[in-house]
Every structure is written in C-alpha cells, then in structure tokens.
Amino acid sequence: MKPVKRRSTREVPAKPPVKHHEIRQTRTAGGDFTDKLHAYRDHHAHALFSSLGRLVATPFTTIMTIAVLAISISLASGFYIMVINVQQLTADLESSNQISLFLKDEVSNEDAADLAADIQKNSNVQAVKMISKEQALAEFKTYSGFGAAIDVLEKNPLPIVLQVLPKNTLQDKQQLENLFKTVKQFDEVDYAQVDMQWVDRLQSMVEVARRGTALFSFMIGLGVLFIIGNTIRLELHNRRDEIMIAKLVGATNSFIRRPFLYTGFWIGFISGVSAWFIVALLMLILRQPVEKLSGLYEGDLHLIFLSVTDTLALLAISSLLGIFSSWAVLLFQLRHTRPE
C-alpha cells in the first residue's frame, strides 16, 4: 500500500492504514468456496429471471421496444436471406458460358444440323445442341402460358438456335472471345450471344446487393444499440433509488450491473426470436410466387430459408447487441451515480 500522505503531524495511527487482506475477509464472509459458488449461481439465476419478470411487468413498454427492434432486425436478416437466394441462382449460372447462335429465318433444319456438325469439329467446343423451330415453339407453349396466343400465329416466329457449349478448360475470357468471333462469322448466324455477359452483370449486381446488405445491417445494428441503450438508461433512471441503496449497503458495480445486463440480454434475445418469426412469415408469403416464377424460368430455384447456423448467429448477435449496449450505458451512467 502507498504510504499515507497528508497525515497530521501530531498523531500517527496505531495500526497501519488500509490492509487488503482485511477487506478481503469481508469479501469472503459468505462461507466456504462451494457455498460461494452456489450462492453466485443462485444470484445469477435470480438476476436472469427477475430481469425477465420486470420486462413482463411492464408489457406495453416492453412490447413497443421489442417490436421496433424485431422489425429492424428482420429487415436486416430479410435482406441477407434475399441476397443468399439470389446468390444460389447465380452460383448455378457461374459455370455457364454458353454461346447461343440464333440462325437466320431462311436456314433449314438440315443446314442447321450441318452447321452444328461443323462447329462440333472445333477443338474448343465440347457440345453443340440444336433447338429446331418446332422444339422451341413447343417449349415456349409449355412454359410461357401463351399457348393459345401462339396458336393464333400463322407462322412460327422462333428461330433455330444452336447452343454451343465451350470446353470446360476454356476458362480464359480471351479464348472464349476468340471462339465467339469464329462461330459468329458463319453466314447462317443472324445473332450471337454469350450468356456470360449477363451472368457477369448479375453477379456484380449481387455483389453490390451483398455489400449494401452488410452496410445496411451495420446501420441497423447501430440503431439497435442505441434503442436498447436508451431503454436501459430509462430503466436505470427508474431504479435510481434502488441503486443508491444497494451502493450504500456495499454493492459493487458488477452486482448493480448484473440485472441490467440481463435485461439487455432479454431484450436482444426476444427481439432476435421475434425477428426470426417475422422473416419466416415473409418467406412463407413469398414462397409460392417465387416457386411459380422459378417454374416459369425452367429453373429449380427453391427458396432458401435461414439455416440453423444463420438462426443461431441471428440470436447470438441480437443478444450480444443487447448485452453490449447495456454494458456501455452502465459504464457511463454508473460512474455518475454516487450515493447521496
């Protein structure tokens, strides 16, 4: 211990000043170690449930706060799951760098087949698939829902399409470009298109959406911090007398903090659970139309829901936000709360 400064010159205390072991004696006055441990556990359990009880005791305030938080958190997780779903769509397309050749109207099926055979000889081509006018029409009728309208047309408006699938080794863009130029030059070809382009575009859009979601979630997280922080601040204010009394009978700051940290935890956790249900509800509403849309595009897109890991992460993050914002508020407020 530091030597006592500013001591009166007249008298020297009989005993040395502050002794740490004396203070500790008071600290461990509660019995032996196991007793202390049990008591500690009991007090945590008590703080856990009494803080929940306090939230339940003021249902209106609690519901208002939790509704705001749950909606905010569900917005962030909703965007997240949307990006995940679009990502699965583009993941399927990632390998596809197929070239579509739309042939001129006057080209016959036989000529088209000859051309397909020619292209097949190219060493960079893995496969060529021909879709005749008739096949194209049949497919269109089946999936577009315009069957009756098509029947009205006198002439088949659809061109013959050759789908050229380059070899898998052909990852290099330049090589793909060369192949594209070669096949495009045939006289029979009216219009050529690499599917890569829109895949690229879609992927960059998804990337933008992913980053946007991350930023958005960050802002939502900040908002959640402030909302919970403010709730805890009000609660602290309401229980000011209790805190003063507890301090006067020897409560440490950690003892005073404990129930408020649990309050923060409960608010965060319950908001997380509610947000999960909101997202689940939105997904249920969206599932049917999405699957119908997917069917129309011949795709087998199934709506991905929040995985177990995602759900656990959602609950953990909301709970931690609750605990952290209470902790931050307590750190600032308790410093200014001195017994009077």
């Binding site: 006592v4 000043p17 004396e22 203070i23």
Partner: protein, 219 residues
C-alpha cells in the same frame, strides 16, 4: 474503532463545513452526534460512509485509513457499516424479507444462510412474521425497524444512524434506542446523529456536539 483526526471538510461554495474535528469512539460505545441544523452532522456521517472525502485530516475505521480507500474497494468497506436513515430508505416494491436480505445477497451469501440471518435480524427487532409484507403495509416505527434489521443483518462492527427517531413518537423512539443499546452490548459501535435533546438526555451516553463545523463537546 472509529477515529477522527483533525478532519476538515471544505466545500468550494460554503467554506469549511467541518473544522479540525477529532474524536475517538471505542468498540462497543454508543455516541450521540448533535448540533443545530447545518452544524455539519450529515457531512460528518457522509465522510464515514466515504460518500465524501475529507479535505484535511484522516479518518480511521478499525485502523483502516478511509481517505485512501480506492473507489473499487468502497463496497467492501461499506459492508463493515450499517446505515439507518430518518426516511428508512427501503425498497418499496420489495417485501420486508427482500429488503433485509439485500446486504447479504450483495455479500454473496447462500439462500439458506440468508434465510437464517434475516429471520434472526427480524426476530431481534420484533418483526418476525411480517417478512412477506411490503414496507408500505407497515407503520413508521415498523419500517424503521426493518431499516435497522437491514443495517445489522450483516453484523457490521459499526452502526451509523442519521436521525433514526426523527419521524417517530417518543415511545417508539425509546424502543428504537433500546435496540441500539442491545447492539452495543454485543460489541457494536453505534453513532447516532440526532437533535432530540430530551431523548438524548434520558440516556447516559457519550455526546458529540457540533457547532458551526467545530466539535465543541465530546464527553
């Protein structure tokens, strides 16, 4: 047990509230702290509780110098004192039992031990059987006795009472004083701030008289 050594407390706005106060309370001694309003009684008690720190001089509790106790150690120091207030300072939304159990819960006692000690303390102040009542359901004298039970439940060596009988009639006040004498008999030091002269004069205890921040009598 409790020793003031030339203690001065100065507030920037009002000047010296306490000036060179020195006294020494032995273990198991009862003392009345008296004086006119604004004489510095409350400030003196606040210095003991380390709610304020003295400007000059030293205060020793059980040989421990209070002016150098770190903020983080204050809770453990305060567990050595039991405070009793004129306005009782009870938690109005908790039962009598929970109020008295608070210091024990804070000190980390287990359930069984808490129950035993709370019952013992309530028995001492004659409130056994009212554990489940809320403070508002009790009379003023009973509430004050809950406050006393809370102050002694942790068996602190020092009890400090600030106008404990201020809101009570003479008969109840006398009862409360009897309680203090019982604590004294088991070796507890008791310091009572009061300006109830008639009550003080009935009891033959040490008197610390403050006048404008100076200790004018300490017999």
């Amino acid at each position: 047990m409790l020793k003031f050594d030339n203690v001065t407390k100065r507030y920037p706005e009002t000047g010296d509230v306490l000036h060179n106060v020195s006294f020494h309370l032995q273990q198991g001694e009862i003392a009345f702290l008296t004086g006119h309003s604004g004489a510095g009684k409350t400030t003196l008690l606040k210095l003991i509780a380390v709610m304020e720190r003295c400007t000059r001089g030293e205060i020793f509790l059980d040989g421990q110098c209070l002016s150098h106790v770190k903020e983080s150690q204050l809770p453990f120091l305060r567990r050595k004192m039991g405070f009793i207030y004129q306005d009782y300072k009870l938690l109005t939304d908790r039962t009598v039992f929970d109020n008295v159990a608070l210091p024990l819960a804070i000190a980390g006692f287990g359930h069984a031990e808490i129950r035993r000690r709370v019952r013992a303390a309530l028995d001492k102040v004659g409130l056994l059987g009212k554990e489940k009542k809320l403070p508002q359901a009790l009379s003023g004298g009973e509430q004050q006795r809950v406050g006393i039970a809370r102050a002694v439940v942790n068996k602190p060596p020092l009890i400090i009472a600030d106008e404990p009988t201020g809101n009570l009639d003479p008969e109840l006040s006398a009862e409360i004083m009897l309680l203090f004498e019982q604590f004294q008999q088991v070796g507890v030091t008791v310091l009572i701030a009061s300006h109830d002269i008639s009550l003080i004069s009935q009891m033959n205890h040490r008197l610390l008289k403050l006048d404008h921040g100076q200790l004018v009598s300490s017999v």
